[in-house]
Amino acid sequence: MKTSILKFIVKRILLGVMTLFIVSLLIFAVTQALPSDPAEAILGREATPEALAALRAEYGLDKPLVSQYTHWLGGVITGDLGTSYATMTPVSEYISPRVSASFFLLLIAALGSIPLSIVIGANAALRRDGKFDTSSSLISLILAAMPEFVVGTILTVIFSTTIWQVLPAVTYLEVGAPPWSDIKGLALPVLTLLIAVTPYVSRVMRAAMVEVLESDYVEMARLKGMNERTVLWRHAMPNAVGPAFQVIALNLAYLAGGVIIVERLYNFPGIGSALADAVRSRDLPVIQYLALIIAGVYVITNLLADIGTVLVTPRLRTRLS
């Protein structure tokens, strides 16, 4: 059984790698279509044709697309991601600290939102149509309805500039400092992301819980005389989290997109702001790498969700053997 799970995981990983490969092709194709010549973007409009040609040769921009792609992909695999056109520094050097900062932000947001969603969803399902259910569903609906930048703007006004000046308005990380060095500064970005994701996940959680609570085996557990806590945590929860995993994964991937806005809002030095910046400055190597990373987040969270679902669902787990 163990080896078959391993086999399943390996298969899923291979599938993920394939998805990423196609994604990389797509990213490359799309970024090639960006207007304006990177060589000129670097050297400026005054550059001589010779200088432009030399730079194109240096970055391999004069080679056929296929060899540019294989060179790029080879670079991605070996960790040589090229030079950022905008910063003129190696992409990895520019991006790495931002990747860890963003991942930390995402991690905190995910670690906060998952249990929060589960608790809210489970409670709402348990007291269905009760006060908590109605109010939590209404509040989550309202919060989910507002785009992140609106939520963020409102939070800033409330907590840092106009009403109370209790939280930092922006995240300030000294260069080289770990992302957790400004915990207070993370408060608003995390809160914004929580508000963006929790309503949706908690609603899914509620729906999954409702379905499970309506199931025969939960009724049976009650008829066996199990107390409500056991019914909820032992009988209902394990069956509800399986389907919820998929949604959580999708939402983590959504978070990876949400950081673009949140990071800009709070001047957070992460991949989101770097991406927005890179798109504006046509910084192809950075766009390509970041898009790949974000797609990778999606592939990995999905992979984890699939594996998680299989692990908590005995039927799937044992079917593999």
Binding site: E214, S215, D216, Y217, V218, E219, M220, A221, R222, L223, K224, G225, M226, N227, T230, R234, H235, P238, N239, V312, T313, P314, R315, T318
Partner: protein, 605 residues
């Protein structure tokens, strides 16, 4: 309430302190206050089994759950008293209720597959009942008890088996686990809610045997809920018949089946096919009224051929027929014409031309062969029953004939001409010539189309104009005894029986030569089943249809088919005229199947 005393006298209060007593129970739809069940009075003595029978929607399960002081969402217990071994359970507080469940009174659910938690090992699920009721005092004692119970329900007792998850067990094993769980804490009362529905007859036989054994050995009062009269006859000591939320008749098994008093009971018995004898089964039209739509008087009056004005004025009182027999009817003793069992038997019209020939067909799913080298012959005007337990391959064969299953080899000939595998590849004539009627009428009609539209589709595809098709639709509706107005209805406005009639109408509209009926009655109540069987018989007679009748229901075969082919594990084990195969089976497999099938007649002997 006034006659509480007389009721108690009637049911013998003094005896039931150790059994189950239900007094004047009523449950409502919480939102509307309409009664789901009312005036339910039942008594089960220790060690006895009471069969609670009735059609779906009659309130059997609601009563059963009330015994555990449980009402489903949207349902509330209005009033009544339920004594389990002397303890009144409805008035208990939430914590006390929790404590009696599983300990004093336990429940065996209808569908073990969905009632066992898929995420927990069966050992855990067994153990937790014992733990929560603090049974045995120690973990070792509980483990011993689990082994003991597993042995009693004839399951392996080793630890590895207990480590299994529910889905790793067969249906019968799952139900045994359910039984073990129910009996684990030595309850005084047990409610069994159709525990054998969905099980094959041989498995059912074993489970029933186990139930009988356990109730007798442990002196448990068992409430056995079912719609299957034969099972009741086989297992129960007493019977209570429910109709539209009321108990209309109750008494000892022999009394009820030998001398049914209430017209409804008589209809039920008349509609039930029996393996023990060739019997013309008789159906009944209409359906039981749902909560909120019940008439003031007798709920059965609208369908009752004996109904008089007085029946419609007030709900009839319980009339005592004998010490162990009472019925809620004022017309007891009067017999209607419909209940006579003198209808002519089906004439054998075999020996016509061969219309369908199945030659050496093997079929499977994605590489796994489930049907091996099957050959069958269906003659014009004949009804051939294809019987077998689930997984025997009977449906695969029928689907291959209908062009719904593509993965097969061999040949199927219609009028001597080989058929293509998929319906879509077949010629229009071939397609129209063989029509398929599905098992589940709830799934075979598109809920978003009107009945008329659904029936008309084959005609429109064949290029018949809309107006021309309309008259044909009305024509076939008439053939299946549905009024014209049904053409504009949607499936969800129809009862199961009506839907199945529509499905048959849809098949008939193409003027087929062959009707493939795939378990067409298995989702239906017995009265409706009888009516459908009756309809099919008439159609066969009137239209000269040939019919392949696929079923797992052996008793039914006797009532409908000329010939029968018995399938097991993808092979045909025995073929022959129905009477001879069932009356005098030549193969051991068929013999076992027949013995395992419960029968009212046999039980009463």
């Amino acid at each position: 309430m006034a006659c509480r005393e007389c009721l108690q006298v009637l049911i013998g209060v003094e005896k039931v302190n150790s059994g189950l007593r239900i007094i004047n129970l009523r449950l409502n739809v919480a939102a509307t206050g309409n009664d789901i069940v009312d005036e339910v009075n039942l008594t089960i003595e220790k060690g006895r089994v009471l069969g609670l029978v009735g059609e779906s929607g009659s309130g059997k399960t609601t009563v059963g759950l009330a015994v555990l002081s449980h009402a489903r969402r949207g349902v509330e217990i209005a009033h009544g008293e339920i004594y389990c071994a002397g303890t009144e359970v409805l008035g208990l507080d939430a914590d006390a209720k929790r404590r009696i469940r599983g300990e004093l009174v336990s429940y065996v659910p209808q569908d073990p597959a969905s009632s066992l938690n898929p995420a927990l090992r069966i050992g855990v699920q067994l153990m937790e009942v014992l733990e929560v009721h603090d049974f045995g005092g120690s973990s070792e004692a509980r483990k011993a008890r689990i082994k003991e119970m597993m042995a009693e329900v004839l399951l392996p007792t080793d630890d590895q088996y207990l480590e299994r998850y529910p889905h790793q067990l067969s249906g019968g094993q799952q139900q045994r686990v359910g039984l073990a769980m129910a009996f684990a804490c030595r309850p005084s009362v047990i409610v069994l809610d159709e525990p054998t529905t969905g099980l094959d007859v041989s498995t059912q036989e074993h489970v029933l045997k186990t139930i009988r054994q356990l109730t007798r050995d442990h002196g448990v009062a068992a409430l056995y809920i079912t719609h299957d009269l034969a099972v009741v006859a086989d297992l129960a000591d007493d019977v209570a018949v429910m109709y539209a939320g009321r108990v209309v008749e109750q008494g000892e098994v022999a009394e009820i089946f030998g001398n049914p008093a209430h017209p409804y009971t008589r209809h039920l018995v008349a509609a039930a096919p029996d393996i023990a004898g060739k019997k013309q089964i008789v159906g009944l039209s209409g359906r039981a009224p749902s909560p909120g739509k019940r008439p003031t008087g007798c709920s059965f009056a609208p369908r009752c051929e004996l109904a008089a004005d007085e029946c419609r004025e007030a709900f009839p009182p319980n009339v005592r027929i004998s010490d162990a027999h009472s019925a809620a009817c004022i017309k007891i003793g009067k017999r209607g014409e419909t209940a006579t069992q003198t209808s002519p038997t089906i004439q054998s019209v075999s020996q016509g031309d061969v219309i369908i020939e199945v030659r050496n067909v093997s079929a499977g799913y994605s590489g796994t062969t489930v049907v091996h080298d099957v050959s069958l012959t269906l003659r014009k005007g004949e009804c051939l029953a294809l019987v077998g337990e689930s997984g025997s391959g009977k449906t695969t064969v029928s689907r291959a004939i209908g062009g719904l299953h593509r993965e097969w080899t061999g040949s199927i000939l219609l009028n001597g001409v080989p058929l293509r595998s998929a319906a879509r590849q077949r010629s229009v004539e071939d397609r129209l010539g063989i029509q398929y009627v599905f098992q589940n009428p709830y799934g075979s009609l598109n809920p978003r189309r009107t009945v008329g539209d659904s029936i008309a589709r084959p005609l429109l595809i064949a290029g018949i104009s809309k107006s021309a098709s309309r008259s044909q639709v009305l024509d076939v509706l008439d053939k299946v005894n549905l009024p014209n107005s049904y053409a504009n209805k949607f499936p969800d406005q129809l009862s199961g029986g009506e839907r199945q009639r529509v499905a048959i109408a849809r098949a008939l509209v193409s003027n087929p030569q062959v009707l493939v009926c795939d378990e067409v009655t298995s989702a239906l109540d017995v009265l409706v089943q009888a009516a459908i069987v009756d309809l099919l018989g008439n159609l066969r007679k009137d239209l000269g249809l040939s019919m392949l009748f696929v079923t797992h229901n052996l008793p039914l075969v006797r009532s409908i088919a000329d010939h029968v082919a018995v399938m097991s594990e993808g092979r045909i084990v025995e073929v022959g005229p129905s009477e001879s195969v069932i009356g005098d089976p030549q193969q051991q497999y068929t013999r076992n199947l027949i013995t395992a099938t419960p029968s009212i007649e046999r039980s009463l002997l």
